[in-house]
Subunit: 153 residues, 2 copies
Amino acid sequence: MHRFHKLDKMTSTRCAVCKYFRRRCPPDCIFAPYFPNDNPQRFTCVHRFYGASNIGKMLEEMPVQLRADAVESLYYEAKCRIQDPVYGCVGIITSLHRQIQIAQSQLAKAQAEISFLDANFVGVEPTSSLSESLVQQNGVEHDLDDPFSTWFY
Amino acid sequence: MHRFHKLDKMTSTRCAVCKYFRRRCPPDCIFAPYFPNDNPQRFTCVHRFYGASNIGKMLEEMPVQLRADAVESLYYEAKCRIQDPVYGCVGIITSLHRQIQIAQSQLAKAQAEISFLDANFVGVEPTSSLSESLVQQNGVEHDLDDPFSTWFY
């Protein structure tokens, strides 16, 4: 009777990772804070692509306060890979790069339109300050944050 | 002498994955086309995060013509994770989303400026066609391609 009670307690308190591997969940389990018992799908999703061992290694190598964010980003990447098995997250990055290119092109056209209208403007005082501040702010192309010198495709 | 010759041949033709695991590389090796012998770093990079077994499973589950792209995207994600162990690719996605928001805000300002200048325009013929086509093209916010209903953070 006592043994059953102990087993029940162990089962109910172990994290999703230890539950998956049917093992005891130690008090200092590296997975427990990020893979709670009530969300087993979260672990199976990242485990499918990275494997528990690799996730454990990654977590061990970083400060405790950053681990929750790291698991969140791995979970996000894994969900992307499920949705798009070939391109995963990289498909989203490619799409966002295209959107920035479109926005930059639209902005360049708008600036040309403003310059044209500005040159033919006769009404109240010249709007040079407004137009100039706009041109100064339009530095989107310098903000591109690509960690590699060449883009994926 | 004959044995050495055979061993040499096997060693020189096996792919980076089979070389890493010190095993014979079969003629139908699933890794060989994507992990050539002359670039072992490419495999060690993806192996560190995904593991050879998971990569093999992913490749098996997709058509042959898409496998090269899949390996390329996994390699890209792995390089991102090396550079940014906490956020990986997701850090880039967040940064690109911010850039699109900035570009959208700049575009909205430019449109307001155009509307103002247009209303006070006296010069050649009205530029309604130019301005209208610009407004029609400015649909960046509808192009956002986020596969999940809520954004990461």
